[in-house]
Symmetry: C2
Subunit: 415 residues, 2 copies
Amino acid sequence: MRLTIEQMAKASRAAAMQLARLTSADKNACLRALADGIENGAAKIREANEKDVRAASEAGLGDAKLRRLMLSDTAIRQMAEGLRQVVELPDPVGQITREYTVPNGLTVRRMRCPIGVILMIYEARPNVTIDAFALCFKAGNACILKGGREATESNRVLAEMAQSALSARGIPVEAVTLLTTKDREEIKSLLRLEAYIDLVIPRGGMELIRFVHEHSRIPMVQHFHGVCHIFVDASADLDRAVEVCATAKTSGPATCNAAECLLVHEKIAPLFLPKLAERLARDRVELRGDAQVCKLVPSAKPAGEDDWGREYLDLILACRVVPDIRAAIAHIHRYGSNHTDAILTNDPASMKRFLEEVQSSCTLVNASTRFNDGFQLGLGAEIGISTSKIHAYGPMGLEELTTQRFVVEGGYHTR
Amino acid sequence: MRLTIEQMAKASRAAAMQLARLTSADKNACLRALADGIENGAAKIREANEKDVRAASEAGLGDAKLRRLMLSDTAIRQMAEGLRQVVELPDPVGQITREYTVPNGLTVRRMRCPIGVILMIYEARPNVTIDAFALCFKAGNACILKGGREATESNRVLAEMAQSALSARGIPVEAVTLLTTKDREEIKSLLRLEAYIDLVIPRGGMELIRFVHEHSRIPMVQHFHGVCHIFVDASADLDRAVEVCATAKTSGPATCNAAECLLVHEKIAPLFLPKLAERLARDRVELRGDAQVCKLVPSAKPAGEDDWGREYLDLILACRVVPDIRAAIAHIHRYGSNHTDAILTNDPASMKRFLEEVQSSCTLVNASTRFNDGFQLGLGAEIGISTSKIHAYGPMGLEELTTQRFVVEGGYHTR
């Protein structure tokens, strides 16, 4: 069995050598065909997905996770749309990012090139299968995809559609390999194949990240948990702040960029918190607060120490009253996860201080944490949001799936 | 003892938080003072270095390694000069590399920020102590330096000079920590402190790299061995090619960017090889060739299979006659180390093909492999040459010691 895993990785490496030389036109034609295939095959995708959802529901998967697993018609249309957006993005491979001449006359160019073979290990969401393939492929990389076991049927149909689009154009189908093994030992041996795999990107819960971190010899860009904070400053526009805070939770409670904790300046807490509580009640969001919050909002539940720094991935929001911006920043340094943190303020000094001192992968002023997303930030798509600072920090799009090499031209220069 | 290592790493982390906010002026003043300190303290450095060299020589260290250990007056002047060059380089911290507005009106900026704490593990060369500190520091990072045991005295004096320059300006001396432990278990526990250390850069032989790779839980940018090739194409200007090939070995036989293997097109081999052999004999470079080389150069020694892909780090050069560019590229793909490879040619088609198919960290046309170096390629300095494709590929200068975060401004945007 181990041999099979190794042969599979070797085939990915061989495919990657060919992918590195594909033209943009070839890659785009394949992605367009896949978009059409997904739209035309929507019924087949839904059928497979319904099987997954039924099985997961019977197995007692939580509501938030079930929502992540489900592929609605809208979600299927979005996958196809996402592919067409990737087609429109400039091909990073071969791009010259800098060109200059050094004093001795050598011309130096930095040129983007593919990374090679990328292993992606992720949990429930089946649309990741298509997003990850599209981005890896357009950036000239082969990918090995290990999706969540709950999404097996959905992932299988989606990967088959990608492989048909590839083989119809004479491109090696090993450009995408879907792994459906449930054997942890097999995954461990895969994680030691640094000779064939250049990068591993785990996307999912703490347990998954820790497993990969512990066993991988392959460089890893980790997509860690998102404990996202919003600090509502004394100068914030309160009605609009209520709207930002509430939707930062409700528009995607199971996403990593959803707000998990609000920090509210004590000066505006008596005015702000009742307004917020009313709005949250409408959306059935549970509020867990410190003593001051509970005093101002009788319906709030008391927060325990373990509510700070917690990723609920559900309709629950922690809330704390802070005396000033210093305390808000200290809370974020202590409990944050370097993922996404926002300030709502009309005060330029607070804005500046927050942006300087909170060095998360994405820091926002007067915008919802939900905007930390490759689509929303103009990358066209994303393969994950890195919370480690090496190689990429924040949403990873096409460029982050390439590396840069040096290309030098001289006139028989010696040194 | 383990506690001490952990406390030390914790202090580096605390220093890094402060370093991230230093102004460029403060950092530059400190680096200038260190340059002066090194020039004024040259006698002290030489004295310490002589102790190291004497001990290493008595312990039977090889010639190539002794040359790397030695700090001549020129080398000491170059260290000071290198520091002043780093002062002149633009400070990457806070640089906005991109700024754009997405359709919904959000302003998105990508801003460079320090990585945090960088652990550097290296072998004999003591000048790395100063180069590494200067680059890490200017990029706002704290560094932990674990130098080679042969250079202990030299490194100690150099690190003390750096710490005096820091403390004179009220900057925490934990910005640079020199580790002199010889205990491998201690290094192992250090390599598991991912909570305090963000990046490890090993620079040295295979054994060192493997050790770090096996035991590190910290992301690693590896500076692997340099098995650098030069392909002399049929159209090359032969006299100038002789000069490039010979100096690519002789100007720094113990460096990672020295040429180790020449691939010579069979059409010009009968003319080229005797000229080359004459030039190499002058510099006492041993030539090891395949059967065709040995026929054309009677003084050449026959190369064995283990001469291909070998890093001599000495005055030895492997040489093989190849039928065409395809064979040359195939040899590089099989035996190269993704470090540096060059082609000497006057044919634009060969040039293009070589640059496309050989995707080493640095590929050169009509220039010596010795130019793959941060100084030579205009980075101002380098902390190493990465042969892994994640985070950096090729010489790593100031920018490669930072990461980029997203900074977003909106008008109470919701999603």
